[in-house]
């Protein structure tokens, strides 16, 4: 049973009187625990697709099924907020941390708004996830006291701390040097294997493709390649 099923999803933007199709009918299924890379050049529709999967944007046509039951198009704005709050984790290329909060508080933010844990449980959970992404001892630092790679690790920890079913990462290495990019992807892959969390991340960097366990290539809003396992010809 797929975690996520997209049926002929389309997205068209309207710029004045001109219609600009960004996604031209994509149908894919994502299984639980998959580590999926969406690859494609700039403007191919990767970010739009991730935004639609992440319920930040609505498709112009088509349907998205979550866990084979929930039709996301039928949810109201508030229900979509709740859906994101409890089920999804996001990692952005700009990490989008809150500058007045420490690394600990930025990660804690994601579970504070769920409010299902005691203070002690929350603290243990946050420290544990920060430790997992290699930020032990840096929990009291504010974003301006962290390097780019460390900030992105905080963003990863924030996305994972609530044990979401699905983590969406839009070009998570775009602003990082190659060494730091590899560190970040190593952490994402490790967390995928350790926690079984489903990851979908986009990239246009061919260097990053070696981390792909499933590779979906998009061009002009359409899936041109969808390979996984042995079909992938990238070195692991």
């Amino acid at each position: 049973m797929p975690l996520l099923k997209l049926e002929n999803v389309k997205k068209t933007y309207h710029q004045g009187k001109i219609d600009v199709p960004a996604i031209r009918g994509i149908s894919i299924e994502i299984e639980k625990g998959e580590f999926t890379t969406i690859f494609g050049p700039s403007g191919s529709g990767k970010t739009t697709l991730l935004n639609i999967i992440g319920c930040l944007d609505k498709p112009s046509a088509g349907e998205i099924h979550y866990n084979n039951t929930k039709k996301l198009s039928e949810l109201s704005k508030n229900e979509l907020s709740d859906f994101r709050r409890y089920n999804l984790g996001f990692i952005f290329q700009g990490h989008n941390l809150i500058p007045v909060l420490t690394a600990f508080e930025n990660v804690e933010f994601a579970i504070r708004i769920i409010d299902e844990m005691t203070k002690k449980e929350r603290r243990e959970k946050v420290l544990d996830i920060l430790d997992s992404v290699g930020l032990e001892g840096l929990e009291d630092r504010r974003p301006n006291e962290l390097s780019g790679g460390q900030k992105q690790r905080v963003a990863i920890a924030r996305a994972l701390v609530k044990n979401p079913k699905l983590v969406l990462a839009d070009e998570p290495t775009a602003n990082l040097d190659s060494e730091t990019s590899e560190e970040v992807l190593d952490i994402m892959l490790k967390m995928n294997q350790k926690l079984g969390t489903t990851f979908i991340f986009s990239t246009h960097d061919p260097q990053v493709m070696k981390y792909a366990r499933r590779l979906i290539e998009i061009r002009d809003g359409k899936v041109t390649t969808d390979k996984k396992g042995e079909d992938l010809d990238v070195p692991h």
């Binding site: 930040l56 704005k77 994101r84 952005f92 700009g94």
Partner: protein
């Protein structure tokens, strides 16, 4: 709680901007408190001066005289040594002293020019038990008896009179014939009441009665009570006595007698409302500007929060609490500076000429310095008001920020 904590932390993001917005609010609050304190001081001083120099605590006169008292008519007069007054004196133990006055309109003449004034025939020995006129003698001495007069400093200066000079008063008697009084100027007054300084000429009551052919007639009786707070109740009791006795005279308490002063105080209170409107405007503009700037700067953050599952109302809550925090800071600073300002106003005062650039007191019975008054309720009111206005002003711009499309917010489109 976490969102509240975040909102409070956000106050420190742009310390200068937070400080400027808070200072704008505090400035409005400071000005309001000073204005309110001055109005309280103005009211208290005006009423005190009015009571101590002009109205006393209670007056009794014919009801028809009350209606025309500004013209000081020679109709509707009372008999001196009135039996009713003697009965009142015996019945009510809270009367400290009473006196009679006979007021009439005249012109004062120095041989070259004349000026319209109001003459007040008084019983000097009783007057000093009721009023503080004697304390304000600038030159000469308090009026005694005989062919004497006492006038205010402004009138003396304008007409060029010195103590010992003879002043000529020209007036019409009740029968409509002209008469004059030539009286030696015995004293010159310098009181805080501009009306007394400019408009009144005091002469002994018998001289007034003789000159007007109104033997044993007076315009009104004035009472000083042992406690001024009893004035309202006493007037009510007296009026009930008069009604039962079928008399057309009436008692008026000091509030009724000071209604012109109280009207001016009410006018001053309107100025306070204008101050409130200015505070609303300052706080609203400041807070809206701050929240819009904050929302624009934090668009990516707003987008991230929405992606994490925060609802629009929760994002609005963060901005609103942040603005309430600015309101608390601004109101607190305003209250502190306001308290210092009011303390200085109360203890050092401010001269009327410094306030108005001249000698006018806008008709209020005050002169020299005005002192502020404490009004704790105003402090409490304006503190809460500052916070409420700051909070309310943030709602619309916060909604604008929170309703942003998350994709556009994240990618700053």
């Amino acid at each position: 709680m976490f969102l509240t904590k975040l909102a409070i932390k956000n106050l420190a993001r742009h310390k200068k901007r937070t400080a400027i917005t808070a200072l704008v609010i505090s400035f409005g609050i400071f000005i309001f408190l000073l204005s309110d304190s001055l109005m309280i001081g103005l009211r208290d001083i005006s009423l005190d001066n009015n009571i101590e120099l002009e109205t006393a605590h209670l007056q009794i006169m014919e009801e028809d005289y009350w209606d025309e008292k500004e013209e000081a008519p020679l109709d509707y007069l009372l008999n001196e040594n009135n039996e009713v007054i003697n009965q009142i004196d015996n019945k009510y133990s809270n009367i400290a002293q009473h006196t009679a006055r006979l007021n009439f309109s005249a012109t004062i003449n120095n041989g070259q020019e004349e000026y319209p004034i109001q003459v007040i025939g008084i019983q000097p020995k009783k007057e000093i038990d009721i009023f503080e006129l004697e304390e304000y003698i600038l030159k000469g001495e308090m009026l005694s008896s005989g062919q004497k007069a006492m006038i205010g400093k402004s009138l003396a200066n304008m007409m060029g009179f010195e103590v010992g000079d003879y002043v000529t008063l020209l007036f019409k008697t009740e029968e409509g014939t002209f008469n004059t009084i030539d009286a030696e100027l015995q004293g010159v007054l310098d009181t805080p009441n501009p009306m007394i300084n400019e408009m009144y000429v005091y002469i002994p009551l018998p001289l007034a009665q003789d000159s007007l052919n109104l033997e044993n007639k007076v315009s009104k009786y004035l009472f000083r009570l042992k406690n001024r707070d009893q004035s309202v109740e006493m007037a009510a009791n007296l009026n009930e006595d008069f009604r039962q006795a079928g008399l057309s005279i009436k008692a008026y308490n000091w509030e009724q007698l000071s209604k012109e002063v109280l009207a001016m105080v009410r006018q001053g209170n309107i100025e306070n409302l204008v101050m409130l409107a200015i505070i609303i405007l300052l706080a609203t503009v400041g807070v809206i500007n701050t929240v819009i700037l904050a929302a624009l700067e934090r668009l990516e953050e707003i987008g991230m929060m929405k992606a994490l599952g925060l609802k629009a109302r929760e994002i609005i809550y963060i901005f609103v609490i942040e603005s309430a925090g600015i309101g608390v800071i601004g109101s607190t600073i305003g209250i502190i500076f306001g308290a210092i300002g009011v303390y200085l106003l109360k203890n050092i005062g401010i001269s009327i000429s410094a306030m108005t650039g001249g000698t006018t007191s806008f008709g209020m019975p005050i002169a020299g310095k005005i002192y502020g008054g404490w009004h704790p309720e105003a402090f409490l009111f304006i503190f809460i008001f500052g916070i409420i206005i700051s909070t309310l002003a943030s709602i619309l711009p916060a909604r604008w920020g929170a309703k942003k499309d998350p994709v556009k917010a994240i990618y700053h489109r």
